[in-house]
Symmetry: C2
Subunit: 341 residues, 2 copies
DNA sequence: ATGATCTGTGACACCGGTGTCATAATGTCA
DNA sequence: TGACATTATGACACCGGTGTCACAGATCAT
């Protein structure tokens, strides 16, 4: 096997004394080929360390056994700091792809300028998974463009207008309710919310809405003044909370739209001499690994990333095969830890 | 643009009234083509939303503008918990690839059974980046196999026997020294080490060695009994530290081979009523995001993941182009935080 | 005017597989 | 034994680009 040049199916054909067509069929276990011939071909392929040339194969079959993952980040986010939640998703998506026999192309769309969704057009991937919080410059417009071009794609979280079936997401509204019910049961009803209560970021808004509605269902109204905006970074959560404190806004519980925000919030609270959980209960969202490392450990609404990754891949593959796809809403679960105990 | 079928270069040729050859050349800005012709071809390509078919192009040119990233994980690691340090590396590698105009295929090699390095053989990728701590079943043997097959690859951390030029790594030894010098300066000389002081995991061993040697250079000998083995997880660090405590082994400083281990160690210490940093100073390694979230915040030896990713990609590309490649050792830096302050 | 060089283009083979069709060899049944 | 189905295989076009070669027409030097 010292040969520099990679072996082709013609080489195998030569050694096996059959035609190249037969080799191709044999390697794909076509029932048309005699078992003995198959065995011989496989054996020689093994010896030559032969691997099917994916480019040739893909070119002919017009499909690539590859999915592309586009990860959007908040433009303000630091280069090296990627939201751990999405990294966790990336892990589960990778695994789900592998399980289905697909490869995964990963691409970070750090700024709207280098948005690149031509993986399908160029036949590099059979479909695209879009991952990211919130909305981006021309987000909906771009998704619409993908729809127009008949590109196969699924989104995490964000719903495409009139095409909810292209979305897999966590039940953010229900998650907000879980957080509220938990705090209500502990008699913490004077709540602050850090995140984004406008409809700017659909996920964050849904979390807030569920939270608010669940409290109202118990006859408790949330005070709008106790809301501070933040994007999903520790730093942003820290500053948002600090500004609440600076404005002398009091509360005995705090619901953060993400764990990173919650962690930043806790830092701000502790710095201000406010104890967690004694003075303020804190609940986050996501359950990133760090949630169980920080102290106090963080109570949070967990998203099942493993399942999410599987569903994204599964739905995308269905879409590619033109099978009917159903909208998927994953149930979150509350993980109670030190910050509310 | 309602056409279902994707446009090909023949379509453009037809509309532009030139041959397909000329289209191909024009689109790649060949100097052989008249400027006016180029303009017309580009314009039509734009209108038809034409994208070069990568499979055809790759097949012909025998290269893929794609790199593959194989991420190894400790087999014991939980599915969803990927070492944040490697995720950070993944981020920087992705960016470095994008900058060089390469795509990135990501694959997790969770168990040795599905080791898959045929991305180059099958022409899916031009080269491979191997990422992971420690050694794996048949690790060296497998790398040797890649070498034999003349596969282009670079490794993070682990050195391939007789081929250090294929490695990019952090100066783990120097990092260990930094940690030791820091603790020595604070007069903390009764140190424990949590990690792996055997040569099982080369990186961890180098960190330990540098740490030990730096202390010995100051005339301080480390006590071998104050070493506990751990793999790079929070849990493992927690248990290793707990066992030291259970054996009544005392120390006034602790150096952990990774941040996850350090975070687990701090948890064990605090649980045992040992204060950090008052009773025990703790220093980690990596500087994962969580290092600045935990409390006390973690002093650690930082690895520059951005640079690391760039170097891995750069060296691999050089290798692919058969250019000479130099071994790369990246300087770590000490980040002093609350756990040793 | 004549050969030499340059410019822009088209024809065509080729990359390494896959799918279709034709066909030889063998078996089946009336 | 002839008509027909079945099995196993080869020949060949094809996927959509890229690279090589040939060549027409314009430009230039002698």
């Amino acid at each position: 096997m010292k040969n520099k040049a990679k072996a082709t199916s013609f080489d195998i054909a030569h050694y096996a004394g059959v035609s190249q067509s037969t080799v191709s069929r044999a390697l794909r276990n076509s029932p048309l080929v005699n078992d003995e011939t198959k065995r011989r071909v496989h054996e020689i392929a093994e010896q030559l360390n032969y691997k099917v040339d994916k480019n040739a194969s893909n070119l002919r079959t017009q499909q690539s056994s590859t999915l592309a993952l586009l990860l959007f980040e908040d433009p303000t986010t630091d280069e090296s700091q990627i939201n751990p939640f999405f990294l966790s998703m990336l892990g589960s998506i990778t695994r789900a792809c592998a399980k289905e026999g697909y490869d995964l192309l990963v691409s970070f769309q750090s700024s709207s300028s280098d948005w690149r969704a031509d993986y399908e057009d160029s036949h590099r991937a059979d479909g695209i998974i879009l991952l990211g919080y919130g909305d981006y410059l021309d987000y909906q417009a771009r998704l619409q463009e993908l729809l127009d071009q008949d590109t196969k794609f699924v989104c995490w979280g964000a719903t495409v207008d009139n095409h909810p079936d292209l979305t897999v997401s966590c039940d953010n509204y229900g998650g907000g309710q879980l957080a509220a019910q938990h705090l209500f049961a502990l008699n913490r009803t004077d709540c602050a919310f850090i995140g984004d209560a406008s409809n700017h970021s659909p996920e964050f808004f849904a979390r807030y809405k569920g939270f608010k509605d669940a409290f109202e269902a118990q006859g408790v109204a949330l005070n709008d003044r106790k809301i501070a905006n933040a994007i999903s970074t520790e730093d942003s959560g820290y500053h948002a909370t600090k500004s609440l404190i600076a404005n002398n806004i009091s509360f005995d519980a705090l619901f953060a739209a993400s764990d990173l925000i919650a962690i930043g919030a806790i830092r701000a609270l502790l710095e201000a001499g406010i104890n967690v959980p004694e003075d303020v209960h804190v609940v986050g969202f996501d359950d990133i690994p760090a949630a169980s490392y920080v102290s106090p450990t963080l109570t949070t609404v967990q998203q099942n990333t493993t399942l999410a990754g599987q569903m994204l891949v599964k739905n995308l593959l269905s879409l590619i095969k033109n099978e009917p796809v159903e909208s998927t809403l994953l149930p979150p679960s509350l993980i109670v830890r030190g910050s509310s105990d």
